[in-house]
Symmetry: C2
Subunit: 229 residues, 2 copies
DNA sequence: ATTTGTCCTTGATGTTTATCAAGCATTGAT
DNA sequence: ATCAATGCTTGATAAACATCAAGGACAAAT
């Protein structure tokens, strides 16, 4: 079934679709479907055959890895209106490399990879957009590696918090944790207990004020200095 | 100066150049130069303007990040005949994201990014190869992230050792550590001291035998089981 | 109103790994 | 032959973080 045209505009804003010709774009949308997920519902699992990639419209998704002991590591938290799993398109390997699960009720667009690839074959311009997107991803991952291996829990928490506010903010800023704390804990690779204690540590230093999921960064400049961004 | 034709064949074997037309390839080689580095010599530093990417012909290179405290983390060890820093091509950001330093006397080819980009604009087929290469990189990085955040020093050492031997080996196998131990230590994110102790631990269990830089993996199957690959 | 469940916090304890300090082996230079 | 210099190992100690166990806050269900 072809996609409801009301979604066309939002798709077009994404770099992966922006430079497609109208006819190519329509061909893609004909192989795109709309998909609703309830909280905790699984979109796909590690190793499952990967035939589609996705664009998140509303809600939150988490991408996670499962170790063989069964412990889970949240690799990324996806927000609207980003695409995810697009890197699978070009791999020889057929399976998804992560699990994708809804953190809240969500809507996603499911885009057939094969169709999209066909359209790319006729458009070097879009290829460049894709390559740029992949490169951004690579540098994000390198950044993650850096932050995991070079730094401690406090550092990782602060950088996580600062990612959610504009770069130039100097005055006290509210931050609402829109996903459960234990998910953020996994995302920055600490246990929920350590997360709680680390956040409390920042609070004792007067750097943040805590009201449940509602935080105030009292001194963004000082926080930035602590991680020297 | 154009590149000595004796290097053409080896370049052609790399996926980034394999599917270029002859004329396009020649244009690239005209903007490629040959470059010799002594041990410890720096090829480029983090933040330096990135105008070229590279292909390693002989020797070893290390790519590393420097934290603001001055500690170094080896992100990757490059072997012949791989390209590196190719992801910079498509980024908006102008600087290299890592440092590149020779671990031994090396020779590299320096390829002008702008010229290469021009050739891509005319060849969707090569674009696909590049996208595939970038995707492989992404999945390698996700694997790294997994191994750093889900596992301990022993696990990381074992996977490092197993990466150097064929997948199906069951009998005792020699492994020669071709780079200094402290570099490997940084690569798997432990201190040299921990590296030494961890390796000794494996030795005490009879899993490896140590003769300086020369190791024997006595039971690859058991090692593989321990990390359950 | 009580119960149940989820999520978070807190404290006590244990493990892993880093840090500091010293010593040993090898190499190259004087 | 002796003297650094380098890279590795080893031991003692400390820090960071995980684990285990218990309890509190809050919301939904009964």
């Amino acid at each position: 079934m072809p996609l409801d045209p009301k979604f066309h505009e939002i798709m077009r804003q994404n770099p992966l679709f922006k430079d497609l010709s109208d006819s190519a774009f329509l061909r893609v949308t004909e192989h795109t479907s709309h998909c609703e997920l309830k909280t905790d519902e699984v979109l796909f699992r590690q190793q499952e055959p990967a035939t589609d990639f996705f664009m998140l419209l509303t809600g939150k998704m988490k991408l996670s890895l499962l170790s063989f002991e069964g412990t889970e590591k949240v690799v990324d938290i996806i927000n609207p209106v980003n695409t995810f799993a697009e890197a699978i398109i070009f791999r020889g390997i057929p399976g998804y490399p992560v699990n994708a699960e809804a953190l809240s009720d969500t809507t996603v667009l499911r885009i057939e990879a094969a169709t999209y690839i066909e359209t790319l074959e006729n458009s070097p311009k879009v290829c460049f957009k894709v390559m740029a997107a992949l490169s951004v991803r690579i540098h994000w991952l390198m950044n993650e590696l850096d932050r995991l291996s070079l730094h401690n829990a406090t550092y990782r928490l602060i950088t996580y918090l600062l990612e959610t506010v504009p770069e130039d903010i100097e005055t006290p800023t509210e931050v609402h944790l829109s996903v459960p704390k234990h998910v953020i804990a996994s995302r920055i690779s600490v246990t929920p207990e350590t997360f709680s204690r680390t956040l409390k540590g920042l609070s004792k230093q007067g750097l943040v004020t805590i009201h449940n999921s509602h935080l105030v960064l009292n001194n963004p400049a000082e926080l930035r200095k602590m991680v020297s961004i």
